[in-house]
C-alpha cells in the first residue's frame, strides 16, 4: 500500500492505495473530479523528495505528497 497525502489548502484526507509507479497514483486520482483543479497545479514528492517523473517506482509503505501552489514569507 502507498499513502497519498494532500498538503496545505487541499482539504482532503490521506488515501491508501495499491500502486507500483507514480503513474498508478495519477491514474487513480484522475477519477476524483474534486481533485482535478488541484492536480494541474500540484508538485509531487515521494518520501519527501520532489519527483519529476511519472515512471517513479513505488513500493509498499511509500508516501506520495501533493504540494499545491506555495506562498511563503
Amino acid at each position: 500500500m502507498v499513502r497519498v497525502e494532500f498538503l496545505g489548502p487541499i482539504q482532503k484526507d490521506t488515501i491508501n492505495l495499491e500502486a507500483t509507479t507514480l503513474n498508478d497514483v495519477a491514474e487513480f486520482l484522475s477519477k476524483d473530479t474534486e481533485l482535478k483543479s488541484w492536480i494541474e497545479n500540484c508538485a509531487v514528492a515521494v518520501n519527501d523528495t520532489m519527483v519529476m517523473d511519472l515512471n517513479t517506482a513505488l513500493k509498499d509503505g511509500d508516501k506520495v505528497s501533493l504540494l499545491p501552489p506555495v506562498c511563503g514569507g
Binding site: 496545505g8 489548502p9 503513474n23 519527501d48 504540494l67 506562498c71 511563503g72
Partner: protein
C-alpha cells in the same frame, strides 16, 4: 538552523541573536531580509501552513550552495496566524564579502517564494482563505495530470 515560530517571528531578538552567534566568525557582510504583514485589501492578518520535511531539505540544499562560496544562511518563519504589522519571515546571509551576500539574499528570497512548501491564507472575519492568486506553482507542477492510460 531553520527556526519556526508559532505566530509572529520576534524580529529584534532574532536579529540580535544571529548577529551575536556570528560575531567572531569573520563574516564581513550580514544581510537579513525581514518580511512584515501589510495592512492591505482589508485583511486582518495572514496565516501559514508549513510542510517541515520538505522545507528542511530545501533549506539544507541552500546551506550547501552557500557553503560553496563561504557563506551561511539563517531563516525564521511563522506557523499559524500573524497579525497586521507583525513579521512572519526573516531570511539572512552572512558572507566574507558583500557581493556574494547581496546576490545570494536576492536569489535565496526569490527561490524561497517560488519553492518553499509554505501555504499562505488571508485572515478575514475569523476565516482562513487560501491566497491562491498570490501563490506560485512549484517547478514541475502538473506531473500527475500527465497520466498515461495503460
Amino acid at each position: 538552523m531553520l527556526e519556526l515560530f508559532e505566530g509572529p517571528v520576534p524580529v529584534e531578538k532574532t536579529l540580535a541573536r544571529w548577529y551575536k552567534e556570528e560575531d567572531k566568525s569573520n563574516y564581513g557582510a550580514f544581510i537579513p531580509f525581514i518580511g512584515t504583514i501589510r495592512d492591505e485589501d482589508g485583511i486582518d492578518g495572514l496565516s501559514f501552513d508549513i510542510y517541515e520535511p520538505i522545507l528542511n531539505s530545501w533549506y539544507e540544499a541552500w546551506q550547501k550552495k552557500a557553503a560553496e562560496v563561504g557563506a551561511i544562511l539563517k531563516m525564521a518563519h511563522s506557523k499559524g496566524d500573524v497579525p497586521l504589522h507583525k513579521s512572519s519571515y526573516i531570511a539572512a546571509v552572512f558572507s566574507p564579502k558583500r557581493r556574494v551576500a547581496l546576490e545570494m539574499i536576492d536569489e535565496f528570497v526569490e527561490d524561497f517564494k517560488a519553492s518553499a512548501p509554505i501555504w499562505k491564507y488571508d485572515l478575514r472575519d475569523g476565516k482562513r482563505i487560501y491566497a491562491k492568486d498570490r501563490s506560485t506553482a512549484i517547478k514541475g507542477s502538473g506531473l500527475l495530470s500527465k497520466v498515461k492510460d495503460k
